[in-house]
Amino acid sequence: MTRWKEFDVKRGSSGPLLQVQGLEVEFRTGGRVVHAVNGIDIDVRRGETVAVLGESGSGKSITFEAILGTLDSPPGHVTGGRAEFEGQNLFDLSPRRRRAICGDRIGMIFQDPLSALNPVYTVGWQMAEMYRVHRHLGRAEARRQSMDMLARVGIPDVQRRIDNYPHEFSGGMRQRLVIAMALAVDPALVIADEPTTALDVTVEAQILALLRDLQRERGMGLILITHSMAVAAEIADRICVMYAGQVVERGDVRTLFGSPAHPYTAGLLHSLPGVAAARHRRLTPIPGQPPDLAHIPPGCPFHPRCPRAEARCRAEPPALRPVGDGQREAACHFAEELLAAAPTAQQDEGHAR
């Protein structure tokens, strides 16, 4: 048994803050069924950062929309699994109760800050709303705390800018606004969905640093959804790699990047343009395309693109199981072989850390 399974799930202990098991989400439109999420296991503890890594279409954002209850529900449905937050299965709660918990104890940072902010209300109004609804503060006090929080995330000239509208801020500033709103009432868990994708590199570094500082300060759990390995490597403690709606590998960030146990992870690492030693190597992208989630290939979903695929891979879906020293898990029939046969991976991915 690995450490994952031994955790005590009682609230307040050192158990996981959020433990997702076997989550399945389907989208049904016009006769087609799209299997967006197919059996995900994820957990986060207090004070740690877990990066959920995957291409677009791997189901990473949908997983957390389903957990928070903001999934577009006529097409999308949760068809299986549990999501235990602080000991309670969120899917068992009434929508109202769940909404209350989610806003208060879980903060969400959205990918595109401009569309996540309501264009017709001032930033101050939207910020104060958090305090007024969740903490029942009066208008003046809410405004004061909003200003404090905005200043904390680095908005200059707060006194004046609190009455500005979202479109009057730059992209990086807007992302800070969204972070401020997510952290306003001191949640235990923060989910950041591609927080730096829409930003340029210098701003990205600032935002990541801000997130790291805030986490250190408040000790919350942080889930970082991203498709960028660099971002994941920058601030994550653990990584979950997703593909076609499933977790294919998870473990500590250093060991995972140092020696991947799943061909997909290995492929991702090899397709990165290297910095130092690997400069003269040709880029080797993973061949093929991610699968159409309405028609996921049988067996292992990655097998059509996998250089090591064999007949077994087509027939039998590999389960996520501990490999190597038991501190990490991978969903591949040949994980052990992969680990044994790849000492070189450690050398030319030095830029990952």
Binding site: G69, A116, N118, P119, V133, M181
Partner: protein, 306 residues
Amino acid sequence: MLAEFLFRRVFYSCIALLGLVVAVFLLARLTGDPSVLYLPDTATAVMREQFREAHGYNDPIVVQLGRYVWNALHLDFGMSLRQNVPAMDAVLQAFPWTLRLAGVTVLLAMIVAMTIGPLAAYRPGSIFDRIASVLSLAAASTPDFWLAILGILVFAVHLGVLPTSGTGGFAYWILPIGVLMFKITGTTTQVVRGSMISSLASPYVKAARAKGMPENRIIFLHALRNSVISAVTVAGDQTRGLINGAVIVESVFGWPGVGKLMIDAITQRDFAVVQAAVLVTAACIFLLNIILDLIYAALDPRIDLH
């Protein structure tokens, strides 16, 4: 910026209005003997000649145009041949009645649309939504004069609870406003509903839900505020329907507004009044459009006018 915007809009409206005045003039003068428009068919040739001399219709066109425009700017459209008062006075007297009718109608229509629209949008496809949609569709297909007549038939003739026409106490308002409201409410409700559906599906509403905001707050504070903007956008189109409807409602119910004045003037061949009524209404429409633009700009902070 605001002053500049206002100035530009007023300027263009004035030009349009002026163009309209000239167009009416040309229409009237170039299509034959103007006395035909003013005098009844029974007038003799001698009377027509006298009329033409007296009103300067034998002068060159350009002179006539100049005189006409000059008069128009002074709001002088001639005398109403039926009522023996200046045409403009007749219009100004009728105007407040139409304003009252239209004003109350729009107010009620907005209230209804802003209540039913969001509720229908919240559960699209539900029974409530479908009934609302069917009613709106029926409202858009019903001829208002027929509805007015039906209203009179049912409520005044058969049930005897409401008066058939005229003005007076509260009861006299019910049928005219009810009929006028019907179509406008239907269209506006559908517009608000459509806009609310897209607001409720927007990313900022999803974000607000993730923030843990309760549903009522989401519907009426977050989403509706955005939808009001598109409702105002179509309000301009609605005023056209409102005026068309008002003309008919006033005629059927004997409501002494500008619409009834216009129709009566047509049947009585009182061209001066017809002109005055049409031009005054046009001026009001232009003014209303400017006001709507201002409201729209005030509501949407993304527009920078101030």
